[in-house]
Point group: C2
Chain length 455, copies 2
Amino acid sequence: MFLNELWAEQEEFIGKEITVHGWIRNHRPQKEFGFIDFSDGTAFKHLQIVYDAKNPNFLEIQALHNGAAILVSGVLQKSEGKNQDVELKAKTVQLLGDCPLDYPLQPKKHSREFLREIAYLRPRTNLFQAVFRIRSIAAMAIHEYFQQNGFVYFHAPILTASDCEGAGEMFQVTTLPLDKLKGEVDYKKDFFGKPTSLTVSGQLQAETFATAFAKTYTFGPTFRAENSNTKTHASEFWMIEPEMAFVDLNGNMDVMESLLKYVVKSCLEKAADEYTFLDQFVEKGLKEKLEKLLNSSFTRITHEEAITLLKKADVKWEFEPQYGEDIAKEHEKYLTEYFDGPVFITDWPKDIKAFYMKQNEDGKTVAAVDLEVPGAGELMGGSQREESYEKLLKRMKELEMNIDELDWYLNLRKYGTCVHSGFGLGFERLLIYLTGVENIRDVIPYPRTPGSCEY
Amino acid sequence: MFLNELWAEQEEFIGKEITVHGWIRNHRPQKEFGFIDFSDGTAFKHLQIVYDAKNPNFLEIQALHNGAAILVSGVLQKSEGKNQDVELKAKTVQLLGDCPLDYPLQPKKHSREFLREIAYLRPRTNLFQAVFRIRSIAAMAIHEYFQQNGFVYFHAPILTASDCEGAGEMFQVTTLPLDKLKGEVDYKKDFFGKPTSLTVSGQLQAETFATAFAKTYTFGPTFRAENSNTKTHASEFWMIEPEMAFVDLNGNMDVMESLLKYVVKSCLEKAADEYTFLDQFVEKGLKEKLEKLLNSSFTRITHEEAITLLKKADVKWEFEPQYGEDIAKEHEKYLTEYFDGPVFITDWPKDIKAFYMKQNEDGKTVAAVDLEVPGAGELMGGSQREESYEKLLKRMKELEMNIDELDWYLNLRKYGTCVHSGFGLGFERLLIYLTGVENIRDVIPYPRTPGSCEY
C-alpha cells in the first residue's frame, strides 16, 4: 500500500499486517535492532520501520543503504518514541533496488545551490517534497476555484505569429536549418510559412473566449527571453489569466481576492505537514502570514491616492514617489505595511500600462489594477479592457502597433462589445509567496534561465 | 446574473424579476411582439426572451441585431412554447454593444471549414460551445482523477536541450538573429548557450518525480514539427503523462481504464445538454457509445495473440498482419469489434517500441501496452519502464543514443531503482472521441498545423 492511504486511515491499520514499498531516507542500524526512516513520497510524513535481531535476515537488513528501494511487511503498532505515533514492526524487509554509498543525497543538510545541480534528485528531499506538493495542490486549487465558479478552461496557443507584447523578448521558433542560413531568411520555407515565437501571454486570445463563454481562464506556460538573472525571473513560467465579460474593475478585484484566499486556504488545509516543516525551517511565521491573509480585507486605493500617501510619509525614499509614474518596491512595501494587509492600487497612468486597458474619462489614467501583498509585492495585475472600438484603435495607432495583425482583437469590440476585465497571475511568484522559498529556481522542477537549460 | 446560476436554481426564480447580460444569438421580431434567443455563454442552454408592443421602447428592441450585447430585466415565467420550460418576459432591454448586419455568424448552418477561418468567433456557435466546454470539463476531470488518487501534478519543462525522441521532428528555439547567420552557428551566443528545442514528451523528466513522489502526472503542451496534414495531427497539442513507481504493466492498465471511465462519466454528467446536441447533430449514437464504454470490461491480450487472431480472421486485409510488426488501423478496428469493447494489446516487439520500455525475458518483446478503443483506435500507449541499469544502458548503446546526455535518466536505475510504469494520453485524440468531432482542428481553440499559425 501507499503511505497516503495508510495515513488517511491510520487508526484502522493499528495491529494489522501491512506491506509497503518505498525508499530508505535514513537508516540507523544499532547493535541489536535498527530504525529505518521510510517514505514512498505519497505523503510528507514518513513511516518509521523498526527491526531487531530476531529477524532471520537481520544482518542483511542492517547492511541496507540510504536511498535503496525496499519492500517491507510487518505489523503497524503504536510507537514508544516521542515523534512518531505509529511505527511498522518489520517481519520481512526485501531489497528492491540498491543505492551506492556515494549517493549524492545523504541524510544531512544540503545547500539549495547544490540541490539545484542535482535537480533530478532534489524532489526526494523534505524541502522539495513540500514545495512541489504545494505546487500541485495550488494548481489544483486554481482549477477548482474557476470551475466551481463557471469559468471555462482555455488552452491558449503557445506558438504564435503575433508579437504584440514586445518582440525583443520573445523566443523564436523555427525548423529552418540554422547552419545553412546565409544572411537572408525565407520564412515561406519555415514550418508555418512566417516568423513564429513562443507566447508571452494568452490574454488577447482569452478575450475571444470571454466574449463567447463570459468567464474563462488560461493556465499554461509562457516564455520571456529576457536576460535577467534575478531571484524572481525565469525564462519559462506558468501563468493564470482569467477574462470575464460583464465584469468591471471592481468585479475583477473581487475575483482576484477570492481566488487568492481560496488557494491559500486549500494549501493550508491539504498540506498541513508540509507547512509545519516550512514554517520551522524555511520561513518562520509562514503559516501566520497566510492565515492573516485569509482574514484580511483588501484595501482599494487609486494610484493617485497611493502617491499622495507616499509623499506624506515620513520616509527617506531611494526613489521619490511621483504622480504619473510607476511605484518602486519600497513604496509597495510601505503601502502594505501602512494598511497592514493586501492593497489594490487602481487607475494607473496610461503611459506606463498596456494598450488594451480601459481608458478612464480623465484622459490620463486607465482602469488597471495591481495587487500588492505583504511579503510578496505585486502578485497580480489586471485591468478592465477597453471595449470601445474607436478608443482602442486610436490608442493602437498612437503606439504604432500593427493594426492588421490584430484586426480580430479589434473586431471583438465591433461584434457585440461589452464591459470586460481580466488579470494575470504568475504561478511561480505565487509559489514563492506560498512556500517561503525565495528563489524562483526552487519552485520550478526544471527551471530555465539565461544560460541554463538542464534536463 | 449569469445563466449558469439561473439554470442551477431555475425553479427558485420563477415569478421573480431578474437581470441578465449576454448576446442575441437569434432575433425573431414579429408585428406585435418578438423573441430573442439569448445566451451569455455560461451554459449551453439558451434563455428565450419575449417582449411585446406594450414595451415603451418596442421599436428600438425590434431593431436589435443578431450578435449584439444586451442587458435585460424582466420576470421569469413558465413558457407556453414547446421547447422552453421557462422564458423571460422583458421589462427593459438595453443595448450594450451593437453588432453590424455583416456579422459573419448569422443564425444558420456554417461549414466547419468556414468556421475555422473565423476561429476567434466560432466559440460563440452551438457546436464550439459544446466542444470547448467539454474540453474544459475533461481537463478538470483528468486533474480530479489524479489528485483524488494521490498523484502529484508535475509541470514538465517545455524548453529542452535533449533530443532523445527524434531531433528531426522538433522545433528549434533560439534568440539568435536568423538574418545575420552566415553558415555557421555559435550556440554559445544563443540564449541557453546550446541548441534548444520544444519538448515532444515530458515522460523522462516525469520519471524523476515518480521515483520521488511515487505517483505523478504531467498535463501540458507538447510539440511535433512533423509535416503531416491529417485530421489527427497537430503541431501543438496537450499530453497527459502519468508515471507510477511500484506499479507494473497490469497496474498501469488498471489506471488507464479507470482514468478513461472517470473522464467519460464526468463529461456525460456535467455536459448533459451538450451531449444531447452532439448526439443529434454531430455523431449519432455518441451518448450510447460512451455509456457502453462505462459498462465495458477492457480485454487484455498480447501482441502475439492479437496477430494470431487477425491471421485466423476471414478478412481480406490491406496490410497482412505479421508477428513482430506493428498493426494497422484495420486490425485495430477488427480487434475492438471482435471483443466488442476496448482492448489492451501488450508485449510488443521491442524493435518497434521505445528504448526505455522494460525488456521481457523472451528477449524479443517489451512490456508495452496500447489501448484500442472502438471508434477511436489507439487512445493511449504506455509501458512498464526498464528498471535495470545494465539492460537500459545496453539498449541505449545498441540504439547509438547519447549516453552522457541522459546520465541522469540512467541514474534513476542506480539510486534505489524500482518497478515503475506510465503512459501517455493525447488530450486532443481523447476529445475527438469524446465529442464525435473528427478533425483535430475543431477540438483546439487555435490549432497549429503545417503552414498555419493564426491568431
